[in-house]
Point group: C2
Chain length 331, copies 2
DNA sequence: TTGTAAGCGTTATCAA
DNA sequence: TTGATAACGCTTACAA
């Protein structure tokens, strides 16, 4: 196993100082074209790679970005998380950063704290937002640069999100356009900001169509299959003509409940989801849903963080390029 | 923002040398009880945390473990990956290590190489194994400590896996016990070792029951829904009485295909999966499957790697504590 | 344009 | 039992 080359090796081989080599590599400071060329030639030939840890120590940086992964994520949250992760990875890799995952249980900041205390990351990306996120509070209180994926009610938080309100509004409006008049909205309120956005979008969709929703058809208690069953039971006596689910998990539960009760989709009720998933595509019937580009979200968050490191002042962003995928459930 | 305490601060505050403080913290070297007590009291009170990066530089370690995450993972691989990740996290956190995720595309070692070149990790965990894994080859060639989750054909590779052969054999045998005689096995051969294990287990199950399988009922070409449809069509003329799917994805496809063709489960055919998932529990009918403890797998891999760092000689392990969850599909 | 030398915050070696 | 002092590999004033 060849011992790794250090900057001192390169310097002495080339008969120059470490400083010169460092400068040739970083491009900082005045240095002759010729020297730069020689250094690059040598390091290319001998495959020298600067030790990022040593550089980090000297610069007080780690070139790591912490990404929080909640242990409460379930099978339905994974696709979102991985899409974000890929976007983050695109940007970090391109900028010489790496991703350090911190598993967090129950939003407790203990493990995040460890990583921060140990100086393992330069900044952090939160992959979901809640109303009074203890993690965000902790990061703020300790002046750790961070960005949140998802909308935070705290305007100080650097954040990036899809335009859920507009997208949900649009989907709602398009069901109304197709003739639906009594749409039910089914979700689960766990304190996540997105639940609120989806409600707002639903109401906005009605408003855009010039219609008035029956707010008693909004149910935010879809805790599990059993609850969903009861919700469907209740809705059967309310002359509903369509159901919108806040996410793909609830959509699945609704489909199961409808099948059990002999409710046919889309003939009896139309059905749509405010969040798409591959399952909604392969289910029968396939379900109309909003598709967002979550990878882009991750990339934007990572870019914002790196901009922050570099002294720029990135702004929170909202992406408007969602697509509504129409499928059998609203045919 | 309080400037972080350094070991020098602690030393001068206590009127001792940095060496002494370092020794009191690490527990290495002779040092008086009294001094240790004083140092610990002080650092507890003032919340001093050693800088892991600096320590790493001095010791030529990073206290990071690289975990490879394939970008080809799909919705069906996520639960497995996250279970492993949690297990890894349990062990790394307990040992002062962190997890550095490397996203790898198409098994190309480029991004892994970056991480290794940059000295960002002390070792690597591979979360899946293939026949001639370029990543494993790379790590081996460069003397990077690593462990694989999943069975590798290369006996040099430190590995940890569930006893898939025994589990698959057991499930197969139990279907035979229930009266099945002509079981079909449906899988997809992508060169993963596990496919082979599952075949072996299937055959072993027949052997254990003292029966002989019809090997022409083994189909390893379940590439997508369409292929699966054709497989089911073919099996309908072969007087099959049960189907075993290699994983939960294929199980879902088989269920869809059966529904389309009016094949009733479990009345017409019994159905079981060699890998469990929450979907098999909530589907209708729910599907009998083997449940493994993948978190334990991750924990074991991480522990092996850390043992390796500490000069011990960990052995590859196979876990035998699977459970077969019997559900409606084999009632 | 280049070099010297002092950090960065630890640990390790060798004396005392 | 403790303490100087030199690493670790790099960056960065400050000099030349």
């Amino acid at each position: 196993m060849a011992p790794k080359l250090t900057i001192a090796d390169v310097a002495s081989a080339l008969g120059v100082s470490k400083t010169t080599v460092s400068r040739a590599i970083s491009g900082k400071g005045r240095i002759s074209e010729e020297t730069v060329r020689r250094v690059h030639e040598y390091i290319g030939l001998h495959n020298y790679k600067p030790n990022v840890v040593a550089r980090g120590l000297a610069q007080q940086k780690t070139y790591n970005i912490g990404v929080i992964c909640s242990t409460e994520y379930d099978i339905f949250a994974y696709p979102f998380f991985h899409a974000c992760l890929r976007g983050i990875g695109d940007v970090t890799a391109a900028n010489g950063y790496d991703i350090l995952i911190t598993l967090v249980e129950n939003s407790k900041s203990r493990d995040l704290q460890r990583v921060v205390d140990n100086c393992k990351v330069d900044g952090v990306i939160l992959t979901r937002t809640t109303a009074n996120d203890p993690l965000a509070e902790y990061l703020k209180a300790n002046d750790i640069p961070f960005a949140a994926i998802g909308t935070s009610p705290d305007p100080d938080v650097l954040q990036v999100d899809n335009d859920h309100v507009a997208a949900c509004s649009k989907l709602t409006a398009s069901l109304l356009e197709q003739g639906c008049r009594r749409l039910a909205l089914i979700g689960l309120d766990e304190g996540h900001v997105i639940t609120r956005c989806r409600c707002d979008g639903f109401l906005a969709g009605y408003a855009a169509a010039g219609l008035t929703p029956d707010r008693t058809l909004i149910r935010l208690d879809a805790a599990d299959q059993q609850h969903v069953g009861r919700i469907i039971d209740a809705l059967q006596t309310r002359s509903v003509d369509g159901i919108i689910c806040m996410d793909e998990k609830i959509t699945g539960q609704v489909m199961t409940a409808c099948k059990q009760r002999g409710i046919h989709i889309p003939d009896d009720w139309k059905l749509a989801s405010f969040y798409d998933s591959s399952m909604l595509d392969s289910s029968s019937p396939s379900v109309t849903a909003i598709r967002f580009d979550d990878r882009q979200l991750g990339a934007a968050a990572a870019q914002m963080l790196i901009d922050l490191f570099n002294g720029r002042q990135p702004q929170s962003r909202v992406f408007r390029d969602y697509r509504i995928i129409f499928r059998e459930s609203t045919a």
